[in-house]
């Protein structure tokens, strides 16, 4: 599944972003290497979603740049948005859509999409209208759809934000599976317990600045900034 040529590391240099005259990210340096999931933590409004969009290449930075293995290339990786858009098509057609864009012939893309659906436990719902699925099923479909092309990096924005505990556990297992096949997972979450379970590395964002980037064990046992320590105690809300 994995692309033979790696485009990692993904490096952000002095990344700035402003919208409507308001600075949202203030010159952020971040290097993302192959390995276990990188979880971006931070209070609401810290700029986590904006950072994911910049890394994925959906929006253009106001300053600084993003490079993939040293090259300022085209947008790469796949992203699952906090509220994924379900195309007005069947579950199978949703999962196959990115493969269709990639020019895969019909039979091949349907086989690959079915395999991706199978991995998230949705093969049995393949012919259903995607927009009729439950919230948890839609999230799993969005993950299967992002995975269908076997991207090297998968960006996930609050993948369990509005799910009940059972659905969230299912999604977590899928994320672990994505990391398990060797893809780099870069995700945001507000759930500290989930971050402990999934993260290999933590990036801590606060008010548009990257305050820490550290191995998960280090971050959770010995955060190096007072803001991160307060956040871990549940005392930092914005």
């Amino acid at each position: 599944m994995r692309a033979p040529v790696s485009h990692l590391p993904l490096v952000a240099t002095q990344l700035r972003y402003a919208a409507g005259g308001v600075a949202i990210l203030h010159g952020l340096d971040l290097a993302i290497e192959a390995g276990p999931p990188l979880v971006i933590l931070g209070p609401n409004g810290a700029g986590k979603s904006v950072l994911l969009r910049l890394l994925h290449g959906l929006i253009v930075p106001t300053g600084g740049n993003v490079t993939w293995s040293g090259e300022p290339g085209r947008p790469r990786g796949a992203m699952v948005f906090q509220r994924p858009v379900m195309l007005r098509r069947s579950v199978l057609a949703n999962a196959a859509y990115p493969l269709k864009l990639a020019g895969q012939p019909r039979a091949a893309r349907h086989a690959a999409a079915m395999a991706a659906l199978d991995r998230v436990g949705l093969a049995g719902l393949a012919t259903r209208a995607a927009r009729r699925l439950s919230g948890g099923e839609q999230q799993r479909l969005a993950l299967a759809r992002a995975e269908a092309t076997g991207p090297e990096v998968v960006f996930l924005d609050e993948p369990c934000a509005s799910l009940d505990p059972a659905a969230a556990r299912a999604v977590e297992a899928i994320i672990a599976g994505i990391a398990g096949r060797g893809a780099k997972v870069v995700m945001t979450t507000h759930d500290l317990a989930q971050a402990r379970r999934l993260a290999g590395e933590i990036a801590f964002l606060h008010r548009g600045r990257l305050l820490e980037q550290a191995p998960a064990a280090t971050f959770f046992s010995a955060p190096s900034t007072p803001e991160a320590a307060a956040f871990l105690r549940g005392e930092l809300l914005a």
């Binding site: 959906l58 858009v85 007005r88 990639a102 927009r131 009729r132």
Partner: protein
């Protein structure tokens, strides 16, 4: 019995017995208007989708023009096509004037702006929802057009039905370029106009009834399509 109710009786008999003249007129009407919708859709829907997704200089002007052309009087559409197809016109050598082909072209001209303007409205909302997701998949503007056309298919069906309703109800354009030739270019609306002025009320009434029934059926179908669109949208 009054003249009117006699005429009404005769009209119902014509419909019930499947009168041949009546049937031929109805069939030609449907053929012309459906063909016009298909021709207009070939241009109008992609244009509407492109206007929904692309931002380019002149886009606003095109949208204003289309909205204005939605109110194009049928006789003007007929006149334009007449001038193009008349023997001395630029397309006169095609010999299309006073044929069903000319009627299809005139009605297509009449409704293409309607299809483009309405489909733009419908697809703009869909694009707002889809834009970021499609960009994440790596789909550019051009690639988004067929995706929107397909995913908006139920809503677009109502657009097509609106175009068909307008085409099948108009009389001015087909009268001018078709000439209302019996057995060849006579359609429901032109026949109603002629038979009424000749005083043959039964045929005019029978055609009027059928035309009403078709318009009602089209509206019902549009409602069904709208419901389906809502259901699919979840």
């Amino acid at each position: 019995m009054s003249d009117l109710s006699l005429a009404f009786d005769a009209a119902l008999t014509l419909v019930a017995t499947g009168d041949e003249t009546l049937s031929r007129i109805i069939l030609l009407s449907l053929q012309v208007s459906i063909s016009a919708v298909l021709v207009a859709a070939l241009v109008g829907l992609p244009l509407g989708a492109l206007l929904a997704v692309a931002r380019f200089p002149g886009r606003h002007g095109i949208i204003i023009t289309l909205n204005a052309l939605m109110g194009l009087p049928p006789v003007v559409a007929g006149l334009v096509i007449y001038l193009l197809l008349s023997r001395s016109g630029p397309l006169g050598s095609l010999g299309l004037l006073f044929t069903p082909g000319a009627m299809v072209i005139a009605q297509a001209l009449l409704i293409a702006p309607i299809l483009a303007a309405l489909s733009r409205q419908v697809l703009e909302g869909l694009w707002e929802e889809y834009a970021e997701q499609l960009r994440s998949f790596g789909a550019g503007t051009w690639r988004a057009v067929p995706t929107l056309l397909w995913d908006g298919r139920f809503a677009l069906l109502t657009v097509l039905l609106a175009g068909f309703g307008r085409a099948s109800a108009e009389v001015g354009a087909v009268m001018i370029v078709g000439g209302n030739i019996e057995g060849f270019t006579r359609v429901m609306t032109t026949a109603i106009a002629l038979e009424t002025s000749k005083g043959d009320l039964p045929l005019a009434l029978a055609l009027g009834l059928v035309l009403m029934a078709i318009v009602l059926a089209v509206n019902a179908a549009a409602q069904v399509a709208r419901d389906a669109a809502v259901r699919r949208a979840g």
